[in-house]
């Protein structure tokens, strides 16, 4: 399966200030790309642009060598995005939350798979509690269970380590590495230092984006 996300001459301006400018990106299968930078340097904005949520930018995006405008449907069919907010409904149980995501992603309705996904993030015994009664870290784990449940090659993850305990962090790091080994691709922002590996690549966004342009 081909897998290539490219950006050319990406530039984004917020409040008369360039977040980044002339940013070229080329992301392939088997890579973990970590977007780094201080607060307010536009990491989340970049991820939103690359996942096709923001329209307010300059430059071109390409998915598998085709302009994004024409392949958006195919791109979305390959994308799994986890945002800043976990996207977990407090009034629904983890199982119900995942059932909606399964249907939304076009996956077959599969209850055993949902149990297995929740077990893989350490939520055995919490499947039928309203998510609102879970801790912030557990809610984040419900969102992370989607990585297990929905088999998509391109992961775009915005601060996935937030609120997760030490064991969870290790497990998630292992999951990212395994995904890259299987030929998937991960684009991630995090303040957590990822262990060095050949698959890991860094993109640094600085204030004003001038060093990104160099």
């Amino acid at each position: 399966m081909s897998l290539r996300l490219q950006a050319r001459k990406l530039a984004c301006e917020r409040d008369d200030r360039w977040l980044f400018r002339d940013l070229d990106l080329d992301i392939h299968a088997g890579e973990i790309v970590r977007v780094e930078g201080p607060n307010g340097s536009g990491k989340t904005t970049l991820l939103k642009i690359l996942s096709g949520q923001l329209a307010d930018f300059q430059g071109e995006l390409y998915w598998n060598d085709h302009p994004m405008r024409r392949t958006r449907q195919d791109f979305l069919a390959n994308l799994l995005y986890l945002g800043h907010a976990p996207g977990v409904k407090a009034a629904l149980t983890p199982l119900e939350n995942l059932a909606w995501y399964q249907a939304l992603a076009g996956e077959p309705d599969d209850e055993p798979a949902r149990f297995a996904a929740l077990a893989s993030v350490g939520l055995v015994g919490f499947e039928d509690l309203p998510a609102g009664q879970l801790s912030a870290g557990q809610q984040r784990r419900v969102a992370l269970a989607r990585l297990e449940l929905i088999p998509r090659p391109l992961w775009v993850l915005d601060e996935p380590f937030t609120a997760i305990d030490r064991d969870g962090v290790a497990a998630l790091e292992g999951r990212l590495a395994a995904h890259a080994r299987r030929g998937g691709c991960v684009l991630v922002t995090t303040h957590h230092e990822l262990a060095d590996s050949p698959a890991l690549r860094r993109i640094r966004l600085g204030q004003g984006g001038d060093d990104a342009a160099l």
Partner: protein, 233 residues
């Protein structure tokens, strides 16, 4: 088992799941379903107190009063249509789903109508009795409200989608949406009026139906476009 799969489920599955999810959510927050109904009853109580308890006077203004109060009650619940999805991040996920967004938005609006517009329509005859609404117009009142409130939900959802990203969108939402509600109000209240006078109501109901058809065919796209704008911040 392949490591990566393309989505195989149809849009229908996603729409059904969204309907079910929103219904379950609303049933777990029952006060959100009840509040517009209580508001409706309260506003109707204010009028005899504010104007006069004279049954003849009340009967004369009842169709308009009932319609205006129901319209405001439906408006009251609109702000929360996309708000919680926006706050907890589900809205981003909805927008990034490979399914058609207008259809998913329509599913959410359908749930809103089912739990707001329809109950208001069913409750209106009861309040009609309290306003001495003349006999023979009760069925038309409920029917016109049921039809009309579907259009109101659709038009209102455009406003809700446009203002969901704004921290104080509530008042602005009313400002955007109320002028657009006027045709529905005219023909809805007109239908009840015509029923009281003994005129035919089929023309009014047909126009309400036509308005609904227009809203159904255009609003989902406007809602989808507006949601994409709001997610931009």
């Amino acid at each position: 088992m392949p490591l990566f799969r393309e989505p195989e489920g149809s849009a229908g599955v996603a729409i059904r799941a969204t309907l079910k999810r929103d219904l379950v959510l609303m049933m777990r927050r029952r006060s959100e379903v009840l509040n517009p109904l209580v508001f409706f009853a309260l506003v109707i109580t204010l009028f005899p107190i504010g104007i006069s308890p004279d049954p003849e006077l009340l009967a004369a203004i009842a169709p308009g009063l009932l319609w205006v109060a129901a319209l405001l009650a439906a408006l009251l619940s609109l702000d929360s249509l996309f708000r919680s999805d926006y706050d907890d991040g589900s809205l981003e996920q909805l927008l990034l789903s490979p399914q058609p967004l207008p259809a998913l938005a329509l599913a959410k609006v359908a749930v809103h109508w089912l739990l707001t517009g329809l109950p208001l329509a069913l409750m209106a005859p009861l309040l009609g009795i309290m306003l001495s609404l003349p006999a023979g117009s009760y069925a038309v009142l409920a029917l016109s409200l049921a039809l009309g409130s579907a259009s109101l939900s659709l038009i209102g959802a455009i406003g809700a989608a446009l203002t969901v990203g704004l921290s104080r969108g509530g008042v602005l939402l009313s400002l955007l949406v109320l002028p657009l509600y006027i045709p529905v109000l005219i023909f809805g209240a007109g239908a009840v009026q015509a029923a009281i006078l003994g005129d035919g109501v089929s023309a009014h109901l047909a126009i309400l139906g036509a308005l609904l058809a227009v809203a159904l065919s255009l609003a989902p796209w406007a809602i989808a476009a507006s949601l994409r704008i709001s997610i931009n911040g």
